[in-house]
């Protein structure tokens, strides 16, 4: 179950909102949040909910233990325990395959399992909690109910953002919802839904058609169309989900951090990673890069650390070599920027750098990320480089069919993010506009129209999962 699913919108969400808001006592609200969240997760992943419960109990107990006993091995023990399900469900089969274990062998079939939804997100949240307690930045919570409500909180449970307990625990300790927050939440939620249903899904149809082509059928035009469509799809899909999560959080009085800040407006890869999936970048910075030595090591050591972090970032997204290479590809560009320009690489002043450097590099990166295999990624990238063959500019039938007038229109609207000159997310902008009287009614009209559009699409559409649901 995801947020754009009609079952969530018109059955689960009304029940959740009416139940949670009707309860004024904090304890009862926490109970209802936890039960609803577990129900939400159960109907997404079934009995794999046990992985969430395991992670919840281990990190809760671990927090209390680590607070008293700060020896490293104690922390390591609990971290290993927390990581175990993630390693098994997400990476064991990949590692086995890389060592040549056939998928139809006894070991292969034992390791080839369904991935629990959002396991990468809640595992990272639990790790952050444990490490923060260990570092003394956060007191271990003695209330399993409160901590459980946080870790299982459905708005951020399966696709982030990666919310750290130290940033939100106060919101779980008392009721912080208000009419203002709720209104902002509604606007943000609807905005996120529109991003997903109108732009991401339309672009996704074109991207799917392009990436579904057989190797020989990928023309120059189709490869670029696919790369562009996926560039738009993944941004609107994931940032749309984050907008919805932030909006839902606000409705329930929980303030989540921003996860995107106009990433395609960046002018270097270094800057891109400060604007894209911010909660993940911050997590890797605080819990991997800095413990490895951060910037305070030798130049060579910093480079090695950066590549390690980006390899980890890549493989966090999925157990496949395409993700690893994608991470290393980004790491290599960051290293190059550091080597050539030092810290000034973070913000080139010229606008053209974006179009001549940042966007092509990111788009090629998305091709590697989206491809089913390194071979397909290679074929795509080669096709993107050959504009002069006889069929380079022809569009295969499958793409032609997917590129309906509506999809093209939505893709073009989505492309406006490539030309945007502000780093303020539209969702944040809309919340700000709410404060003026005229602005309020404009946002009201936008939201009302958005609700009508969402009804039409969500009620009449087939189910379309979020991309980050799988990570």
């Amino acid at each position: 179950m995801v947020f754009s699913d009609r079952a969530f919108l018109f059955l689960f969400l009304p029940v959740a909102i009416l139940t949670i808001l009707a309860l004024s006592r904090v304890r009862l609200r926490l109970i209802s949040i936890t039960l609803l969240s577990l129900g939400f997760y159960f109907y997404s992943s079934g009995l794999l909910i046990l992985t969430l419960i395991f992670c919840l109990i281990v990190s809760f107990v671990g927090g209390i233990v680590v607070e008293f006993d700060k020896r490293k091995w104690v922390l390591s023990l609990f971290l290993i325990l927390i990581f175990l399900p993630l390693l098994y469900f997400k990476y064991a089969f990949f590692v086995a395959q890389s060592f040549g274990v056939p998928s139809d062998s006894q070991i292969g079939s034992l390791l080839r399992v369904v991935l629990p939804a959002g396991i990468s997100f809640f595992t990272f949240q639990a790790v952050a909690y444990l490490v923060d307690v260990y570092r003394g930045e956060l007191r271990a919570d003695r209330s399993l109910l409160r901590y459980g409500a946080y870790l299982s909180f459905f708005p951020q449970l399966i696709a982030g953002p990666i919310v750290r307990y130290k940033d939100v625990h106060e919101d779980f300790e008392a009721n912080h919802e208000s009419v203002d927050r709720f209104t902002e939440g509604v606007v943000r939620f609807i905005h996120g839904l529109l991003k997903k249903l109108l732009i991401a899904d339309s672009a996704g149809r074109i991207a799917d058609a392009c990436f579904g082509l057989a190797g020989d059928d990928v023309t120059f035009a189709a490869a670029w169309a696919g790369a562009l469509a996926y560039t738009i799809q993944i941004y609107f899909d994931f940032s749309g989900y984050s907008d919805m999560a932030i909006g839902l959080g606000k409705m329930f009085g929980i303030k989540f951090p921003e996860n995107f800040r106009a990433p395609y407006e960046s002018r270097s890869i270094t800057e891109f990673w400060r604007r894209w999936h911010i909660s993940l970048s911050n997590w890797f910075r605080d819990y991997l890069y800095i413990p490895l030595g951060g910037n305070r090591s030798t130049q060579m050591r910093v480079y090695v650390n950066l590549m390690l972090v980006f390899a980890a970032t890549g493989i966090w997204h999925g157990a496949a070599w395409t993700f690893v290479i994608w991470g290393l590809y980004h790491g290599a560009f960051i290293l190059m920027e550091r080597f050539l320009f030092g810290s000034s690489a973070r913000r080139f002043s010229s606008e053209w750098v974006r179009f001549a450097y940042l966007l092509p590099v990111v788009m090629v990166g998305w091709v590697i990320f989206r491809a089913d295999s390194l071979r397909q990624a290679g074929e795509f990238i080669v096709a993107m480089l050959v504009p002069f063959s006889s069929e380079a500019w022809t569009m295969p039938d499958a793409v032609w069919v997917a590129a309906t007038p509506g999809s093209i229109l939505m893709l073009l609207i989505g492309c406006t993010v490539l030309f945007k000159k502000t780093d303020r997310p539209v969702g944040v902008f809309l919340e700000g506009v709410l404060k003026s009287s005229l602005g309020f009614w404009l946002v009201f009209a936008y939201s009302a129209l958005g609700m009508a559009v969402v009804s039409i699409i969500a009620l009449s559409s087939n189910f379309s999962p979020f991309l980050y649901f799988q990570f």
């Binding site: 009609r6 059955l11 689960f12 109907y43 009419v179 709410l434 939201s447 039409i456 009620l459 009449s460």
Partner: protein
């Protein structure tokens, strides 16, 4: 009320609207041509904590809501009228506003010969049914309402072609297979595409069905075939000058953009062409059974065309469908099986052919007539030989060593139905498959071919199976396959033929 409260109220109303509508407005029991699952069943499953239960509950509740059906219509209308393009799981728009129902592209696979086997089996099954029914004076006609994309191909553009795949090429193969094996098939597309009327519009642009002109032409063809034994000479001018006007031909009231592709609309309740009693009903003797689908149901004149003595069954309606076998058991003189092209293979291979349930009453009548009309008191023993090592003839016993063992029977050549009697004792029940040689009219077909058979149940103990085989056997040999248990001995096995009284 504070403006922000208004927005919150609107949001909450929006969330609850689809469910609230269930208590205020009529509920959808069907969405398109799919029945909406029951809420009670979905609730039962929900309580059982099945993983997909919430999704099924949501389907049961939300598909039942009028908000959902309106959302589908609005979305499709915006796509079609504003964006000039529709591509849903069911529909694809072609050029110039033509809409096509996607399931009509039944044979998209481009691998050579992908569908040949299923085409041959279907054609042969229908031919055997028709021939066997003929032995008991039951005239069976198969009619096919062509897919819109075949008749109105002007709207088939690159997008439609993409979904069609190799469908159109495979349909040409299908037509060849049926021309060779079931030449009596009434293909309504023949008169639409072949005569002077070609170039006219026979189907609605935005409905999968034919318009009144298409329907009328089909009924004229049906009348011509039944009364005169062949297709009519199409004269489009006569048709058009008779009773048709442009507005009625172009009616788009039955829009595919609505959720139901065959929802009822203001189709004419009467029509001068069909009100003409000198023209209708079709002349035939005795009673009739007409089994049809939505194309014949689209206009209310099918009853007029076949008259009061016809039992007319719209097979898509389950309650009507259950009338078919009882009606066949009453031995109608004329049987018409009508199908839309996209379903014909499934139906001919299934219920409608000699392998399906609808063959039961015909076989019963064949056996009954064989008992009463064949002179088995003066039988002639039929020469037979084992066709494979699966059976062994040993004096008067027949030993089955494989369940696909076959015998070859040499029949007398006759222009009358052939009486056949199998007399034997069996240790257990099994099925006997009678594999027929080519039938008259079948050309370019092998001597024995897949699908050209019917089956009879043999019981444990003594069997005295009496049959009439078609007068139209084009070759004096018959094969029978004895699907008995390995090692079974069919004792006192004799096969006789006889003349009709």
């Amino acid at each position: 009320m504070m403006p922000r409260t208004i927005l919150i109220s609107l949001f909450v109303m929006w969330l609850v609207a689809p469910v609230a509508a269930l208590f205020v407005f009529d509920r959808n029991e069907y969405l398109g041509n799919r029945a909406v699952p029951s809420i009670e069943n979905a609730l039962g499953e929900f309580q059982s904590f099945e993983l997909s239960a919430f999704s099924r509950l949501s389907d049961a509740v939300l598909d039942r809501s009028i908000v959902t059906s309106r959302a589908i219509t609005v979305r499709n209308s915006i796509s079609f009228y504003l964006l000039r393009h529709v591509d849903t799981p069911d529909l694809i728009s072609g050029s110039d506003g033509w809409l096509y129902y996607k399931p009509q592209f039944t044979f998209p696979n481009c691998e050579a010969g992908s569908y040949d086997r299923s085409f041959i089996i279907a054609a042969n099954a229908a031919a055997v049914y028709e021939a066997m029914a003929d032995t008991v004076d039951m005239s069976v006609y198969y009619s096919v309402s062509p897919n819109k994309s075949r008749v109105q191909s002007e709207g088939v553009d690159r997008r439609v072609n993409y979904y069609a795949g190799c469908h159109f090429q495979n349909v040409e193969v299908l037509q060849g297979v049926f021309e060779d094996r079931l030449p009596s098939l009434i293909d309504h597309g023949r008169v639409m595409l072949g005569g002077d009327g070609s170039g006219e519009q026979f189907y609605f642009r935005n409905n999968t069905h034919w318009n009144l002109l298409g329907y009328t032409l089909a009924m004229i063809q049906m009348k011509s075939v039944i009364e005169e034994g062949g297709d009519p000479i199409v004269n489009g001018n006569i048709l058009l000058s008779d009773s048709f006007d442009e507005n009625r031909l172009m009616s788009t009231t039955q829009s595919m953009l609505s959720i139901s592709h065959y929802e009822r609309g203001p189709v004419p309740a009467s029509d001068p062409f069909f009100d003409d009693e000198s023209r209708w009903p079709i002349a035939y003797e005795g009673s009739a059974l007409v089994v049809h689908d939505s194309f014949y149901a689209f206009y209310p004149f099918t009853g007029t065309v076949f008259g009061d003595q016809a039992d007319i069954v719209f097979q898509n309606v389950p309650s009507q469908r259950s009338r078919i076998i009882p009606a066949l058991s009453r031995s109608p003189n004329l049987v018409v099986f009508n199908s839309v092209e996209r379903s014909m293979i499934r139906r001919f291979s299934g219920d409608w052919g000699a392998h399906g349930d609808f063959f039961g009453p015909v076989l019963g009548r064949v056996q009954e007539r064989a008992r009463s009309d064949c002179a088995f008191d003066a039988p002639t023993r039929v020469p037979m030989s084992a066709l494979s090592s699966g059976v062994t003839l040993d004096e008067r016993d027949l030993v089955v060593s494989r369940s696909d063992g076959e015998l070859r029977l040499n029949l007398p050549v006759s222009d009358q139905p052939v009486c056949l009697r199998l007399d034997f004792n069996a240790p257990s029940a099994f099925r006997i498959r009678f594999i027929l040689p080519p039938l008259q009219g079948q050309s370019n077909v092998p001597r024995f071919e897949i699908g050209r058979y019917f089956e009879v149940e043999a019981a444990s103990g003594h069997n005295d199976i009496r049959l009439l085989l078609p007068r139209s056997l084009g070759y004096p040999q018959l094969r029978i396959r004895l699907a008995a248990e390995q090692g079974d001995v069919l004792s006192n096995f004799e096969v006789y033929t006889a003349t009709l009284h």
